[in-house]
Symmetry: none
Subunit: 224 residues, 2 copies
């Protein structure tokens, strides 16, 4: 037997927890994202499953995959969520009541958040930063953060106000996520200012276009 050293240690087992090292996290993100999309592609091809996968990196780059069409899949999903009417089950009534209660809480939180933002803005210096949040063509006009701008909600058009609240919601989730990991403001995303969206480049399985749509609505699908 030889005494040759192994070239690498090979793969090591890791714990599934937040990776703190930034560059290591980046590499892992790239590798695993690729792996995830590959798996997604294989699943959709093998089983004819329609699907949508959206991934935001911690720097908010967006990567996505969809089969046969990501927007159609999302729309289907949302249609399912937004359907309306009806009541006859007691347990469901209870759940709905609870849901409404939670919505109220949420609304209150948002009100409070807005108040806090207003205060924060008042304290902050008069930075001039503007952001346009158009539905089809989001642009950040300069390097500042949009929420620095003293936004006068009263003067915003209704549409703009909705977009503003939307962005606020996004911020809430980002913050929530960071709180969840208890590593708030680790400083890993300093300076990024654009809301980028990525085009996904990946291998296209051969039968990508061979999906049998007649099968999608029939009764002979999975009975799971």
């Amino acid at each position: 037997m030889d005494t040759m050293l192994k070239k690498t240690q090979g793969r090591k087992k890791i714990e599934i927890k937040r990776i703190e090292n930034t560059s290591n996290k980046q590499v892992t993100f790239s590798k695993r994202r690729a792996g995830l999309f590959k798996k997604a592609g294989e699943l959709s091809v093998l089983c004819g499953a329609h699907m949508a996968v959206i991934v935001f990196s911690s720097a908010n780059k967006v990567f996505c995959y969809g089969h046969p069409d990501i927007h159609a899949v999302i729309e289907s999903y949302q249609n399912g969520l937004s359907s309306v009417v009806g009541a006859d089950d007691k347990a469901q009534e209870v759940l709905i009541a609870e849901y409404n209660k939670l919505c109220e809480e949420k609304h209150k939180e948002e009100e409070e958040l807005k108040k806090k933002m207003a205060e924060a803005k008042a304290e902050a210096s008069e930075k001039k930063t503007m952001m346009e949040m158009g539905m089809t063509g989001v642009q950040v006009l300069n390097e500042g953060f949009w929420w620095d701008e003293p936004v006068d909600l009263v003067r915003l058009e209704e549409r703009e106000r909705q977009k503003y609240m939307m962005a606020l919601e996004t911020l809430r989730n980002k913050v929530a996520d960071r709180a969840h990991h208890k590593k708030i403001m680790s400083g890993t995303v300093a300076g990024t200012s654009l809301p980028p969206v990525h085009r996904l480049h990946m291998m296209a399985p051969d039968n990508c276009f061979g999906t049998d749509f007649g099968d999608q609505f029939g009764n002979h699908g999975f009975g799971v």
Copy 2:
């Protein structure tokens, strides 16, 4: 050397193409879907990535995963709004600090919920759950709970769908009395037998790999 026969042939290489055999396809779908969600959960935890995964089986059962919240992620995607949390702005720090405070309670609830579910599952079996990986937005988990059942949105009547989704929404935030609801809800869902409704309008399958809002951003790479 012995002549002992191998117990199994082990894993075989397969081609990535549509599986024609229905039952085989079903099994593969279940296994690979589980694998996909696991990978998704690992990615979101390891890298703090926000993400949404929606999968329709060929019978239009929907399974989804989101972190930290599937709806917020989808909305962010659709609006092209991916606000970046910077690390050096005063107003922002104030805002985040305040919001963290507001969110703290809910996150604790979530953690407890996860713990509760893990315990509940441990009672039934030793099987690990994906909840342990911080999959806060998981809607499809393991067997044993009514919300494990994939929702056949296509077959549910409008009003039933509404109620179901609201109930599910409630559960995502606050699950109580799981056993009681399990019985009721699984009966409701499983017992529904309505004529198929074709709500999904799929586009031409030439856009196998979904993308983004356009290339106007022109970003690339992880981009810190």
